[in-house]
């Protein structure tokens, strides 16, 4: 039975992806384009050439960070919806260090990454503290702080760190940018992979990780077992925010180079979606992030080839999560389980 449970947890997202694509193709057909051409363009756009693959990996990098951020907190049973704000706070301090302190090169990069993680963690500490000490709804608080962070970032690029007439900051100097290792993919992608692997190791191979997951599964039981529930909740917030903040730094140093309007917009909620489709497994979550990035990169090529707007990929993404979570809930229903067991018995009888 355990075996079939694992199978189902892989099957549900796959079936969901297929269903989402079927609906996506129907929309494309309704818009008057050929779904076959569109899908081909989508595929070549995302994976057709080495350069396109590197673009996909580069687009996946920030998504991996925000999805790991959502994944880590939810493993401890708290819903951190503030990944976007934490990501922004990381990139803001990173922008300051990279463009205003005069530091360049490797020391600047290391300091930027560290400061980004610290700032992201501090920003996430606010909902964490309010949750632990005031019992407050961490979801609303973390979302409110997204808006505050986004407005603060706007102050940064329109006022405080503005460079020139256009509302944007100065670009990160060449020598402080992250090295490109493969096409457009930078060391930022490697950092994302390492962070994912570390989280995986922490959650499943350390006793602290075990306790953190125990808190996430059942806070009351964990409390009775003497686990420091509050400590873990606060810790999960800080670490999760630090992951997002690190991502913000890596994105600024590796891809965007300057803060402008729209930077990181939507990354937080996307991260939550990916973590849920990946069913809170860090490695699966990273795979989902790469898949989402491929959809985005490919959709640009699709738009050029067929005229279908790129936002159709957002619909497909949203449908994947609509179906995945509904599907996962469905297979947990008692009626579904009995039906499955009956099927099993019939097979054995035959």
């Amino acid at each position: 039975m355990k075996h079939s449970g694992k199978l189902i947890s892989v099957l549900v997202p796959l079936v969901s992806v297929m269903m989402a694509f079927v609906i996506g193709c129907a929309i494309i057909a309704i818009l008057g384009a050929s779904p076959v051409t569109a899908l081909q363009a989508l595929w070549t756009g995302a994976f057709g050439t080495a350069r396109n693959i590197s673009t996909t990996l580069s687009r996946a990098t920030p998504l991996i960070f925000t999805s790991l951020c959502a994944c880590f907190a939810y493993r401890c049973g708290v819903f951190n919806l503030g990944g976007e704000g934490q990501f922004m706070m990381g990139s803001i301090i990173c922008c300051y260090i990279a463009t205003r302190t005069g530091l360049t090169g490797l020391p600047a990069i290391l300091l930027c990454l560290l400061a980004g993680a610290v700032f992201g963690g501090l920003w996430a500490m606010i909902p964490g503290i309010l949750k632990v000490f005031r019992g407050q709804n961490e979801m609303i608080i973390s979302i409110m702080l997204n808006y505050v962070a986004s407005l603060f970032m706007s102050v940064i690029y329109t006022n405080w760190l503005r460079d020139g007439t256009v509302p944007q900051t100065a670009a990160v100097p060449d020598e402080t940018r992250l090295t490109r290792i493969f096409g457009r993919a930078t060391t930022g992608f490697l950092i994302a992979l390492v962070v994912g692997a570390l989280i995986y190791y922490f959650l499943f191979n350390t006793s602290m990780g075990f306790q953190l997951r125990a808190v996430g599964l059942n806070m009351t039981t964990a409390e009775y077992n003497g686990f420091a529930v509050k400590k873990y909740i606060l810790l999960s917030f800080i670490v999760s925010g630090a992951i997002a903040g690190l991502g913000g730094s890596a994105e600024l140093l590796g891809t965007q180079y300057r803060l402008i309007s729209g930077f990181a917009s939507g990354y937080g909620f996307d991260g939550v979606a990916m973590a849920l489709i990946g069913q809170l497994h860090p490695l699966a979550t990273m795979a989902v992030a790469i898949f989402f990035a491929a959809l985005r990169v490919g959709s640009t090529a699709m738009q050029t080839a067929t005229g279908v707007p790129t936002s159709v990929s957002d619909i497909i993404q949203a449908l994947v999560i609509v179906f995945t979570v509904a599907g996962l809930a469905m297979v947990k229903l008692p009626s579904f389980k009995t039906a499955l067991a009956r099927l099993h018995m019939k097979k054995e009888a035959a």
Partner: protein, 310 residues
Amino acid sequence: MDMTFVTNLLLASVHMATPLIFLALAELYSQRAGLVHIGIEGLAAIGSLTGFLVSYISGSPMTGMFLGALMGILVNMIYAYATITLCAEQTVYGMIINIFALALASFIYRVYFGAGASLAQVNLMSTLSSALGITSDNFFVELLLDQTLMVYLAYGLVLFTAVYFNKTKSGLNYKAVGEYPKAAATLGINVIGVKYVASIICGALAGMGGAYLTTCYSTTYVDGNVAGRGFIALAAVIFGRWSAGGVLLACLFFGFCDALQIRLQISGSSMPYQFFQMIPYIATVAVLTLIGAKKAGPKGAGKPYRKEER
């Protein structure tokens, strides 16, 4: 600080509180049936887009408002089916509705108007005083008469909700579903049915709250125009301790914060305007922090109801 500043501020507060009242009532009806809904923001977004598009095509803001409500119901049926029938986790699914509805709204806008098209504009719903032909800049005339039909509807709904939940049998049954569904079921209340009805009401109100933004407030639609009001409404329900009157006061407070930031922005201060824009969000955090976590909400909220479980 002169009198016009104060009166303008108060008038703007009423104006800004109205969409919040719709959204908070949507949340209240959902939670009273045991469904915590963090997807109000998404429902409002799709309602806002539908309201905008329909009044752009038909020229009638009222039709836009009506179809906005209908679209809210439609999208909320996805949430209802997943959380009521499939017993999916409510907070998770509310989040999914946010992601889905926001993507849908922005997609429809893009498909209809194309990329980089000139900014489309619609006519706003007329106010009672302009319909009656009254022009006066007396504060009380403006406050009471210079409002759209939706404002009166919002306050009417608050009154109705207060009476319904406290004075009617049907309302008490409704609340029982949110408090303790199993006991409600043994009394012969159709728990699943009430939850679905709640989702229809919730969808309609949230859609209207969103549509208000494009039929009564702003003549244009931009992605993200709901600007967190769906989440602030959630905070308003907590702040208002799950009662219609409390929710109204909470919405007026948050509406005041919103009006204050707009007024301060145009007051010509040297401070970057974004700091003023932060006011409603920071006020929400501050209010939630101050009231702490007294659990006053429906006890069955957030939990799935499985008929076969005992």
